[in-house]
């Protein structure tokens, strides 16, 4: 084995790794080896890799600090290929697999020699909090430029530039009880609930369930605690009512116990999911859990102490040292100095000592520590320095010594001479902060508990916390608490839980912890070497002090000004220390200062899991008509209309050359005006209305009259909101005395349906009428043009004689042997028949029309041609020519308003408000560009005087604009202030390119103003 492949910090035995399985991996271009069961972090430490990153702001070298989700430094970019890139992965949470390839997220050109560190060194004085705000804010237009360089320097990981080969998924879950965290409290809770028969989900973010039991020194039922955890997990796995989700992080707690869990299904197996049976399984999955009750057994994060130089690689939190030794068989150094405020952290020194490495000293801030672990350390002859703390770490790329001095924590002063202890590792513990992130996602403000020196979660109804998550750090207490909380949760649902026999724990006496956050230094904070609070965001104690001096007193403002707890860190290690420092500077207590709260997500979630399979061709529903296949086969270009795919135009290929859109549309328009065209109009909303009061209802919901519409007749109607503004339009036909068929715009269908129900259910429940959507049931084919009658006559038994089947009539009969309702409704201004058949038979009818249509020049046309033809006739499109601020009168459609109807139909009252009576309202008019070649831009603003000083008063805008092959010119519809009384006037349209178009205000009907062509 070559030198580089040795693992100098790996113990010969111990830990939960599989030494028989050696795995190779690459970090920053160098190859290393680890074992199955390692995390990337434990493997890096085993190999003696000190520097894993450069810091965000000062570009200082950083090493691994923690062993779990709270790790602030070891953020890496994973992936050996471009497509496999994953940014911002915590090395402490990434299981090692063979071939893993990782890069430091920060550091350019590399972490060992970093150009930006120069800025960091110089910047020590020059980059105070708010630096970016202060330096780069002006001029605002330059921010984009600054940002590019700041980001290049800072480095936040990068997204892959190639398509991700993996698939992701969502799974909707429901349960009685969701237990988050499978440590002692979580396991006891899950077992209690599961034996009671409730539907239980237990999730845990680690590779293995068991939490603190996996590296505990304690015995449960006289066997290692991890053994008990294994037994419980085995029992739970065998129960039908339990869903176990390891490698699954509860990332967000949303309303009404909706919790999102992110399961990393194959991320421990490879950088892309390994193929099984030719199928590539889901790489990661979002579980969308709707829980009856939720139990948070999320444990606690150990707080590091804040002392000078505490960011030099080799500074760790005490518990992480124990985890690396006991779980991974890795000792992350040779000589340890441990600085603590409590008993529990002593186990780091005991574990270190047992691993055969030197404990230089335990530095305890308390005057007379005397708990059991303290006595054990004393008994081993470990030096304990009382009433003291590490005030400064020395070293550059690795800790070389600790400066230790007696301190007065309350007075915040160093009281004695500092002693320098040579060491390469400093572990610290300032106590344990319950992990309250999920609880605070619910909006409940955490409360300070002086006994445990930490915030404990406030809980909304249905949420429970147990064990360390609410400050009960004692193992026996935590187990009992988990079980009791589960029983309470189930009782709240009316379910019973089964009492379980808790494992026996040997009682252990722990001494009282003392409050210590920032350690005093001989120099005042602002002049002392940097004391880091938030390692990920490079926030120092001095920065917080400076922020308070600059007047930021609210902790929320301090947080935003300094960036403490921002981003993917979410304040896991640093928040409480930061608040304690702010409290000290402001002369307040921590509860007085309060806490900031946390937001989802707890740890970063890959976009893949958020999106699930709602991507690519399944990104959004595509709605097809019954004729879709024909359109595809005939080369249609499609337009999105809402979720519908509608043929936009049908380009032909003539002599090997495909028509442009303009060419195709011109051809289609002329075909309709001169011969016959056909449109798939199936997307129009169709609502079947039945009941004795149907007619009355229509009279109230439409602006025009419906009292006398006879069976066999159709009528165009306008629908307004009660503010008098047009919302939709369409024709409604009388099928029988109490039976109508309403049509709506394609986009308005669902909205109109809900609108009708709203009025019926909330205002007029006494009306006996029902509405049923039949949009999908009927396929609608519009055959229109001078030859339409001749064509249709060939395949229908309906009498098409102009006198017996008039404009705005409808008839029943057969078309191509299929029962059909045919409506003489025209949206083109030409003779037109809208053929409605049950959609299952539409293709047959459509094809039969084409079989007979060739001799008449039957031409399929799309929505673009439909738009040109209707605009030439001045027919509006609700939502294009209107925008919710346009009344029927603004549209010049007084003829469709029944002012003398007996009821106060929807919209009527508003039409007599002074505002809707103004003469200078924007009114629909036609525009003819002075230059016939010009096609005005839709949305272009209109002015009366192009020479007016800027800003020119805008008096309207273009709503529809096309080139008309019939007119041989461009034309437009527009809304113009007082436009209906400005016929013949010239308006101007200044464009972004500096040109100004002139156009004449004309009527809205450009073709066949008398409407003779549709009445033939």
């Amino acid at each position: 084995m070559s030198q580089s492949l040795k693992q100098p910090n790996r113990l010969r035995e111990g830990g939960r790794i599989d030494r028989a399985r050696t795995l190779s991996f690459t970090f920053n271009g160098k190859r290393y080896q680890g074992h199955a069961g390692d995390t990337l972090a434990s493997a890096l430490l085993a190999n003696g890799v000190d520097i894993v990153n450069r810091s965000f702001k000062y570009s200082r070298p950083r090493g691994i600090v923690a062993a779990g989700a709270e790790e602030p430094n070891a953020l890496v970019q994973l992936g050996s290929t471009e497509a496999a890139q994953v940014p911002n992965v915590r090395a402490t949470q990434q299981a090692l697999f063979d071939g893993l390839t990782a890069q430091s997220t920060n550091g350019w050109p590399n972490v060992q020699r970093d150009v930006m560190s120069l800025v960091g060194k110089l910047g020590g004085r020059f980059m105070p909090p708010g630096f970016y705000y202060k330096t780069f804010m002006a001029p605002a237009s330059m921010w984009m430029t600054y940002e590019k360089y700041i980001r290049k320097g800072a480095g936040l990981g990068r997204s892959p530039m190639e398509r991700d080969p993996d698939s992701y998924d969502h799974l909707n879950q429901h349960c009685d009880l969701l237990v988050v965290g499978a440590g002692p409290a979580g396991l006891a809770a899950a077992l209690t609930a599961a034996r009671g028969g409730g539907r239980v989900i237990l999730c845990d973010e680690q590779e293995e369930m068991g939490g603190s039991l996996l590296d505990s020194r304690e015995l449960l039922d006289h066997q290692p605690a991890a053994r008990w955890a294994e037994q419980v997990v085995t029992e739970l796995a065998g129960l039908d009512n339990v869903t176990l989700l390891p490698r699954t992080t509860a990332n967000g707690y949303h309303d009404h116990h909706f919790v999102t869990l992110h399961e990393r299904c194959t991320e421990h197996l490879g950088e892309t999911a390994p193929t099984v049976d030719g199928y590539r399984p889901t790489r990661s999955r979002m579980h969308r859990v709707r829980a009856g009750q939720v139990l948070l057994a999320t444990g606690a994060h150990e707080r590091p102490l804040v002392y000078a130089g505490n960011d030099v690689p080799g500074n760790l939190v005490a518990g992480a040292v124990s985890t690396y030794i006991r779980r991974y068989g890795v000792v992350p150094g040779e000589k340890l100095v441990l600085s603590v405020s409590n008993d529990h952290a002593y186990r780091a020194a005991l574990d270190w000592d047992e691993a055969g490495r030197e404990v230089v000293a335990i530095v305890d801030a308390r005057r007379h520590p005397d708990g059991e672990l303290v006595e054990q350390a004393r008994a081993r002859g470990i030096r304990i320095i009382e009433g003291s703390a590490v005030i400064e770490a020395k070293g550059d790329k690795r800790v070389s010594a600790a400066r230790v001095a007696t301190i007065d924590a309350e007075a915040f002063t160093v009281t004695g001479q500092a002693e320098t202890l040579a060491c390469d590792t400093i572990a610290s513990s300032g106590g344990y902060s319950p992990v309250i992130h999920l609880a605070s996602h619910t909006g409940a403000r955490p409360t300070w508990n002086d006994e445990i020196l930490g915030f404990v979660p406030s809980l909304v109804k249905g949420v429970h916390a147990a064990g360390s998550a609410r400050g009960l750090h004692d193992l026996a207490e935590g187990l009992a608490d988990g079980s009791a909380a589960a029983a309470r949760a189930l009782a709240a649902l009316g379910l019973s839980a089964e009492a379980i026999t808790l494992p026996q724990v040997d009682a252990r006496r722990e001494g009282t912890a003392c409050a210590l956050y920032q350690v005093p230094h001989e120099k005042p904070t602002l002049r002392a070497p940097k004391q880091f609070v938030d390692l990920q965001n490079d926030v120092t104690a001095a920065a917080i002090e400076l922020a308070t001096r600059e007047g930021f007193e609210s902790i929320e403002h301090v947080k935003r000004y300094t960036a403490m707890g921002f981003g993917t860190d979410q304040g896991k290690l640093g928040n409480i220390n930061g608040m304690a420092i702010a409290a000290r500077c402001l002369g307040k207590s921590i509860p007085e200062v309060g806490t900031t709260v946390f937001r989802p997500n707890y740890t970063p979630v890959t976009f893949g899991a958020i999106v699930g399979r709602h991507c690519r061709e399944l990104f959004d529903p595509e709605r097809y008509t019954a004729l879709h296949q024909w359109h595809v086969e005939h080369g249609a270009e499609f337009e999105d209309v809402g979720q519908w795919k509608r043929p936009w135009y049908f380009p032909r290929t003539i002599d090997g050359k495909k028509e442009s859109m303009d060419e195709a549309v011109a051809r289609e328009c002329l075909a309709v005006r001169e011969k016959v065209g056909i449109l798939d109009a199936s997307t129009l909303g169709k609502i079947d209305i039945q009941g004795p009061d149907a007619r009355e209802f229509l009279g109230r919901i439409y602006t025009n009259k419906w009292a006398k519409l006879a069976p066999g007749r159709a009528r165009y109607g306008l629908m307004c909101k009660d503010d008098g503004m047009l919302m939709d339009d369409g024709t409604t036909s009388c099928l029988a005395e109490n039976h109508f068929l309403m049509t709506t715009t394609t986009g308005g269908a669902a909205g109109v349906m809900e609108w009708l129900e709203l009025w019926h259910q909330t205002e007029w429940p006494e009306l006996d009428v029902t509405f049923t959507s039949v949009t999908d049931h009927w396929a609608t084919m519009t055959v229109t043009g001078p030859e339409a009658r001749k064509l249709l006559a060939e395949i229908t038994d309906i009498d098409l004689d102009r006198d017996s089947f008039k404009f705005m009539d409808w008839r029943e009969g057969r078309v191509a042997d299929v029962p059909a309702r045919v409506f003489r409704i025209s949206f083109t201004g030409e003779l037109a028949y809208e053929i409605n058949v049950q959609a299952n038979y539409a293709m047959h009818v459509w094809k039969t029309l084409f079989a007979h249509g060739e001799k008449y020049g039957l031409t399929p046309y799309g929505t673009e041609t439909m738009h040109v033809l209707r605009a030439e006739k001045g027919f509006i499109i609700a939502g294009q020519d209107t925008d919710g601020s346009v009344t029927p009168e603004d549209l010049g459609m007084q003829w469709a308003v029944g002012y003398d109807k007996p009821n106060s139909w929807v919209g009527k009252r508003a039409l007599s408000r002074s505002d809707t009576r103004r003469a200078d309202r924007k009114q629909l008019v036609g525009l003819r560009p002075k230059d016939p070649k010009v096609v005005l831009e839709e949305g272009a603003q209109i002015v009366f005087d192009p020479d007016h000083a800027i800003p020119m008063p805008m008096v309207g805008h273009v709503t529809s604009s096309y080139y008309s092959p019939t007119l041989g010119s461009g034309f437009a519809l527009a809304v113009v202030k007082g436009g209906q009384s400005r016929m013949g006037e010239t308006v101007y349209l200044p464009m972004a390119d500096g040109k100004t178009h002139a156009a004449e205000i004309v009527g809205t009907i450009f073709v066949d103003p008398k409407g003779e062509r549709q009445n033939v």
């Binding site: 309303d255 009404h256 116990h257 249905g462 809900e754 259910q761 909330t762 009527k908 009252r909 002074s914």
Partner: protein, 119 residues
């Protein structure tokens, strides 16, 4: 994402199935023509925005398509009750714990049915 008890389907459904339709109990004036412009403007445009108990109109759009009302706390997002069109709320700003007489009567009937989600 709320979990909403539909009083017509008689079970809790995901918020995805519903559309919110604004403040509840906004009755259209019986005789709109008799309203002043100001009164009509009030009806059209002005809505309460209370901190605390609020009554809202929702529709079970993907479901039974029925409109109904929700009493919701706008601070905690707790849904105190859902009730059918034409019914009156039991929980109001005046009686945040429920109207005394009705509260007792309602408790007697299926509590679960009317209670909605408490979270």
């Amino acid at each position: 994402m709320f979990l909403i008890y539909c009083p017509y389907c008689e079970e809790h459904r995901e918020e995805e199935e519903f559309h919110p339709k604004g403040q509840a109990h906004i009755a259209r004036p019986a005789d709109p023509e008799a309203c002043s412009d100001e009164q009509w403007g009030d009806y059209l445009f002005f809505r309460d925005n209370p901190r605390g108990i609020h009554h809202e109109l929702w529709v079970h759009a993907v479901g039974c398509r029925k409109f109904f009302n929700i009493t919701r706390n706008t601070v905690s997002y707790e849904i105190l009750e859902t009730y059918r069109m034409g019914e009156q709320p039991r929980f109001t700003a005046e009686y945040p714990e429920g109207k005394p007489a009705e509260a007792a009567a309602a408790r007697a009937e299926e509590v679960e049915r009317q209670e909605g989600v408490k979270a």
